[in-house]
Point group: C2
Chain length 411, copies 2
């Protein structure tokens, strides 16, 4: 059965050229946690005075790393402290009992000692198989090399080291002028399966050279996360290790508050770009699907409908088969539990009005819908005709590739 042999057909042509974020340096190593012949650990160092914020999986069976990060994010750092982020792929250190906690502690201590940082300023993430002990000593053995190799130009290497079943590394960036000065944002992400909100399952690390107070940074990250990573789903499954960490180094000398719209807009574009890349690397994905729901009784209802459509195996397989099967969209709306009136619904595939007022549109012809479904990027738009509630979520199709990857991932 399947190994992941080829790049997603929805992948960008190449990893983007990301700007250097002054105050952040990266290093990678091949520690052999699980994979051979590739890097599987990345270390990022943030210059003293940097602030760090984060959002995490809401899973009740969170990994030891996530629990540790959550506790540390809440702390007020000393003014002169830097920070470090250590990430390994190949093993998630999740559901590994007390040994999992000990692994996190060992990793944090090693980085803390090597970099002269308090352990409370070392954040770790692990991604990969659940339930097997993390051979943390293999990572600890690489810490000195990692510290020695830190380089502000190595963010692309970091993006590669954190991948698991990903078929391409993910990066995105933005540059804006604030008060005549340039502020830069760059981020990397990994994730391709077990992707569903609360929060969408993946690892994401975003950096900026703006100076942002800790609470403002957290407010920005939490708010934008709700409209980006929390609006994507590949398979409705939620990882125990989801982590988004964002560091603001202040090296540009530009101070940004949470109310700064230009910065927030730029940051949202980076979050959305990374979120969409994760969907485009959805396991087995051949179609990128935008589900837009309008006219719902509330925004919450709109989101419930959109997620029901995006997670429906029957909708997702129809899209895989390039079948404009709008009946399955109706089915998904019906099952979602949110308010709907069969006879007020309208459905569009792309620009084509398929169904309205409880039935197929009089102008609609099957070949019109079929033409839309052949595109690699498809919009399914539903108007419920009930109110002003709206939501947009992103997903991919469900294909033989997903089955191949997941029926044979661990064995």
């Amino acid at each position: 059965m399947a190994k992941i042999t080829s790049r997603s057909p929805l992948a960008p042509d190449a990893f983007p050229a990301l700007p250097v974020i002054k105050g952040v340096r990266f290093a990678t190593a091949a520690a052999g946690v699980r994979y051979a012949g590739r890097t599987d650990v990345m270390l990022a160092h943030l210059t003293p005075g940097s602030t760090v914020a984060g959002v995490f999986t809401r899973s009740a069976t969170r990994s030891a790393n996530v629990l540790d990060c959550q506790a540390k994010i809440a702390l007020e750092p000393e003014a002169g402290d830097g920070a470090a982020i250590l990430v390994n792929s190949g093993n998630s250190n999740a559901f590994t009992g007390r040994a999992g906690d000990a692994s996190v502690q060992a990793l944090c201590e090693a980085v803390s000692t090597a970099m002269d940082l308090p352990p409370s300023r070392v954040f770790t993430s692990s991604t990969g198989v659940i339930g097997e002990p993390l051979p943390h000593e293999r990572i600890v053995a690489k810490v000195a090399d990692l510290v020695a190799g830190l380089d502000e130009e190595n963010i692309a290497g970091a993006a590669n080291a954190i991948t698991t079943t990903d078929t391409f590394p993910k990066g995105a960036s933005a540059e804006i002028e604030i008060d005549g000065q340039t502020v830069r944002i760059a981020g990397i992400a990994k994730g391709s399966g077990m992707i569903a909100p609360d929060m969408a399952t993946m690892l994401v690390y975003v950096f900026t050279d703006a100076a942002i107070a800790k609470d403002d940074l957290q407010a920005l990250v939490s708010g934008i996360n709700e409209r980006s990573f929390n609006c994507i789903t590949v398979d409705s499954d939620t990882s125990t290790s989801d982590t988004l960490l964002m560091g603001a180094t202040g090296a540009s000398g530009v101070r940004v508050a949470k109310s700064d719209t230009a910065f927030a807009t730029a940051l949202e574009s980076v979050f959305l770009d990374l979120a969409h890349q994760v969907v485009k690397d959805g396991e087995g994905a051949t179609k990128f699907v935008t589900v837009q729901v309008t006219g719902a009784a509330s925004d919450n209802d709109a989101r419930t409908h959109a997620m029901a459509i995006a997670n429906s195996p029957l909708v997702k397989t129809a899209i895989a088969g390039e079948d404009p099967n709008w009946g399955r969209v109706v089915m998904a709306i019906g099952k979602s539990g949110a308010a709907a009136d069969r006879d007020l619904l309208s459905i569009r595939f792309g620009d084509v009005l398929v169904a309205e007022k409880g039935w197929v549109s009089p102008e609609y012809r099957e070949e019109m819908g079929a033409a839309v479904m052949k595109e690699p990027e498809i919009t399914v738009a539903v108007d419920l005709g009930l109110g002003d509630g709206a939501a947009t979520v992103w997903t991919c199709d469900l294909t033989h590739g997903y089955i191949s990857i997941n029926a044979d991932y661990r064995s």
Copy 2:
């Protein structure tokens, strides 16, 4: 791509020999609604004095037939009235606007006239493609033949006529002695995809020769449905046409009340047998999976966890791959939203204790779990260690067969 070419590997050896239920007669016809060369309509007639009860999909986009049945089930019939059930496969008459309502009316009138029944005592179901107008005139043209062909021994023919993507017709029965007299129950069902509770997506028709007052029959059906058809899921998708109708003819002369435990137990065995057959015919299914959750904070929580496990694409693909990937079970528990404590959980595959106290069990070896996963019927048992809440649900694995069937069903 896929047509459904072969019988599910989980199918029973043959359709069971079902007892005749005195007071019910069946007929079938090949009306060419969508399929050629097979029967696609069944008519059942219940003798005057029969009571009828039903449960239906909770979808907000219910089909015209379901809305019509729900209205009629609520009515008090005249004492001398019989009842009829007319079912077609090939077209679900769902999301067909006002034309859908007109089709239901046309069908009910045709049967009403031909059988001298009030239209309020004619129940219809339609199953198949959503959103295409039902060519009801093809069915109406067969009504006279159907009425002429009614036969109390033709329940197996009826089970065949109502199938769509099913790979085998489904039947189950029970016989019990009450006060020295024999009471019989026989039922048929169709369903293999778009199966999820509220209520599980399918058509089910069950008959008994017991005499049961209408309200008692409804109470029995509703209660037992909660523990059987509402506890199965194939793909988490819910049809717009789910219908379970039960008729009690009274022809045995034995009066049964809702408090009659022996009857209720026998009826539950028939419901469960049919529900399990639907799962075993789940689209592409190669494994029948029982998910047992105990030790939850409440029965509701247990059900939430059980359904999260049963609906998880990652759990279902692991089972398809015969991979004892208990980490994915932990993931599903974590995402369910119900209470869980990572460090109190235990997980068994079959009789094998796999994980306990937040980690893999010390006695567990991968080959022990792998041996269980090779069986066609697998139990995944989770104890949360929190309370007395318990629930059991049934599902199947997620395979290439599901993708093949659903990526190419309509085109």
